[in-house]
């Protein structure tokens, strides 16, 4: 199964539009850097966090979850037949994090100090955990994507070096992460010991599959888990602002579970979308399998959410307030409906219903994150918040940059396998058609 670059044209009308949208974003960004956040946003002392945190950052990270869920499914849970989905998911994940990083550079008051958490440690802060998870996980994802670059450039020796060093890097990264988050020598030694033993034992005892750097996969999955959940932890400090339909001590767990579901949903969404736009039928058997995984993930989310709300005696609030309505949309549209659709085997095999369910799950995830960061909040005072045009323009510009980067990367680097290009219905497989044009 060789990965190959897509053979398609670089400049298309679509990409021109994307570039124009990006230019608009740059203009707004210049005003923002010259005149401050107040000049382009509707943020205020009452609403210090707005669209950029709620959508660009929270949703960006959750929608990047495809990378670690697919890696876990394929390399750890033995779902090897889904191999073809990993590289596009990893690429999406990496770009998702680039999205988050760019958004942060606009949103932070003093973005040139973005490196401060590297040297200024504060282990009690969930935001500190978030920043380190972003940095370490981006390094891991970059390393996961590196083979595609080595293949493309034919750097065999570097590829070998990479293979030799990656397990050690993974062990060190996890131990270091433990150290900065606990300042406990004992825990650091424990984590180092456990993972060092695993790094040595796993390839030998567990019959390795050649070429799969299992420790790197594991580090990626663990750091992702910590990261997805830490975004939920952020809001643990706001029990007075966030309605208790969302605020719960298990908020980090809810964030993690919904991110896993979003990971599967975004992979299905992307695969069917690209297949549709090229008028080919994707590997429906594989997609149905992913649909089943998504189905499980959604049910687990739903049961945990509802059980938690019931145990804490908040269920009545779901039917009695404005926030309750938001909660019901969040839970019913984003979790229950897609879960019900996917529970039928026939629906999982139908492209249309699979796509519908995946889309609902993605939209539901976005709605959930918006609920936690904005809609479910009760801020003091009378000042309201609706994102300004500037905030929208920046967000749209970054999304455009991502779409452009994704297609460019797929054209330059071997992201899709040939089978997969067929499976995805991408033009690499249809290269003859492209060549004839």
């Amino acid at each position: 199964m060789r990965h190959e670059p897509l053979r398609a044209r670089f400049v298309t009308p679509g990409s021109v539009v994307l570039v124009l949208l990006m230019v608009a974003g740059v203009v707004v960004a210049i005003v923002r850097y010259a005149r401050g956040l107040g000049a382009v946003t509707n943020l205020s002392d009452t609403y210090p966090w707005g669209l950029w945190i709620a959508f660009d950052d929270l949703c960006g990270v959750a929608l990047a979850a495809g990378a670690f869920t697919m890696a876990a499914l394929v390399y750890i849970f033995g779902g090897e037949k889904y191999h073809a989905f990993v590289r596009p998911a990893v690429l999406t994940g990496f770009l998702g994090y680039v999205f988050v990083a760019i958004a942060l550079l606009v949103d932070l008051g003093q973005p040139w100090r973005i490196w401060h958490p590297i040297v200024m440690w504060h282990k009690d802060s969930a935001m500190f955990q978030v920043s380190w998870c972003v940095m370490l996980y981006m390094a891991v994802v970059a390393l996961q994507f590196a083979p595609a670059v080595f293949e493309r450039l034919g750097w065999r020796q570097l590829h070998e070096l990479w293979r030799a060093l990656v397990p050690a890097f993974s062990v060190v990264a996890l131990s270091f992460f433990t150290f900065i988050m606990s300042h406990s020598a004992i825990w650091t030694v424990v984590v180092f010991g456990v993972f060092a033993v695993l790094a040595l034992a796993v390839p030998r005892l567990f019959a390795s599959r050649a070429g799969v750097p299992i420790m790197l996969i594991m580090a990626g999955v663990i750091l992702s888990t910590m990261h997805q959940s830490s975004l939920g932890s952020l809001f643990l400090l706001m029990p007075n602002k966030l309605h208790h339909l969302w605020w719960t001590p298990i908020l980090p767990i809810n964030f993690f579970l919904s991110a896993v579901a979003a990971g599967f949903a975004i992979v299905i969404f992307e695969a069917t979308l690209s297949a549709k736009s090229f008028g080919r039928s994707p590997e429906s058997e594989l997609l149905a399998g992913l649909g089943r995984a998504l189905c499980y993930a959604l049910w687990i989310c739903l049961v945990v959410r509802l059980a938690d709300v019931m145990i804490r005696g908040q269920l009545a609030a779901a039917f009695s307030s404005g926030k309750g309505l938001i909660f019901l949309i969040d839970v019913v549209v984003g979790l229950m409906v897609p879960a019900l659709i996917l529970s039928s085997a026939r629906a999982r095999e139908s492209m249309t219903s699979l796509f519908t369910a995946a889309t609902l799950a993605v939209v539901g995830l976005v709605f959930n994150r918006l609920s936690v960061a904005l809609l479910g909040m009760t801020m003091p005072g009378k000042v309201g918040y609706f994102p300004s045009i500037g905030e929208f323009i920046i967000t749209i510009a970054i999304v455009s940059a991502l779409v452009l980067l994704f297609t460019l990367s797929a054209k330059i680097f071997p992201v899709f396998t040939r089978e997969e290009q067929e499976a995805f219905g991408l033009p690499g497989a249809a290269s003859q058609a492209a060549g004839n044009r």
């Binding site: 750890i76 009690d124 029990p239």
Partner: protein, 291 residues
């Protein structure tokens, strides 16, 4: 021992000398506002901001005869004993000092504004109109309290021991407290001020609401209030509870090393099982091919 401040709202006449003194000491720009623009008419400016760390609020109420009556309250940092803002800050720019003040290091802050979201009293504010913005809030005059600004000489003549001692107390008192002419604000040791508050309430039980706001709220604060009007009517948040805010998040943060280790073991276990299954399937396939 840590310093604290007791605010007896029954004594406040809303002269706003504290508000002005705070502006002067912290060299805060004037704000362009509209008189009568804020709710409560005379209140000005309408809310705390990056230019106003101390604000006297005018709360409009009706008295027993159905007439308009004003009650005065104060907004500003409570200097929590276990502050949510400090726990939130990823770079440790906010910190509770042993002496009492919650201080801010403007060389560390990168403007994520998590502290603003986390503060249960919605105190920290942001310089929205600055290209190099910082978080701004009351510092409890930590610089004065530390003695950074102590006067040691007058007209180049060193002060006598006696004058030094007199100046020391004065210099180390927060600017707002020094400016308060009615005794509404009282600066001192937290334990002593609590005792004082109880004494006042015991002496005039009919006058005071039986509650010291800040004694237990969010685990206790360095600024404490007593009043003759119920605190919820004065706009103080009264549903925050006694639990310190960082304690809501610390279990999740403390669990990290265990979760990392557990996940490592769990994932390896899953990997092992999946591998055995794959192998078994392969050999079964081989066997069936051979037969």
């Amino acid at each position: 021992m840590s310093k604290a401040c007791l605010v007896d709202l029954t004594k406040c006449i809303a002269c706003r000398a504290c508000q002005v003194a705070c502006k002067e000491w912290n060299e805060l720009e004037a704000e362009h506002t509209e008189f009568f623009g804020a709710p409560g008419g005379y209140q000005n400016p309408p809310a705390l901001s990056s230019r106003t760390f101390t604000l006297i609020r005018f709360v409009e109420m009706t008295d027993n005869h159905g007439k308009l009556k004003w009650a005065f309250a104060r907004s500003g940092c409570m200097h929590c004993q276990d502050p949510a803002c400090a726990s939130a800050c990823p770079v440790g720019a906010l910190r509770k000092t042993d002496e009492g003040p919650v201080v801010y290091d403007d060389t560390k802050c990168f403007g994520c504004r998590y502290c603003m979201m986390a503060c249960p009293f919605d105190v920290p504010t942001f310089q929205w109109d600055s290209p190099i913005p910082l978080i701004r809030k009351c510092t409890f005059c930590a610089d004065r309290q530390r003695g950074d600004v102590a006067i040691t000489s007058v007209n180049d003549r060193p002060l006598s021991e006696e004058s030094l001692a007199r100046h020391r107390d004065s210099d180390r008192t927060p600017a707002c407290v020094k400016a308060c002419s009615t005794g509404t604000l009282k600066f001192g040791e937290r334990g002593e001020l609590l005792a004082e508050a109880r004494n006042r309430m015991a002496a005039e039980p009919d006058k005071y609401i039986d509650h010291i706001y800040g004694e237990q709220e969010v685990g206790g604060t360095s600024w404490m209030y007593i009043s003759n009007v119920p605190f919820d009517q004065l706009g103080f948040p009264t549903t925050l509870g006694k639990r310190s805010y960082p304690s809501y998040i610390s279990p999740a943060m403390k669990a990290i090393p265990a979760v990392v280790t557990g996940l490592g073991l769990l994932l390896s276990g899953v990997y092992w099982v999946a591998n055995r299954k794959a192998k078994a399937a392969k050999s079964a396939q081989k066997e069936s091919e051979q037969t």
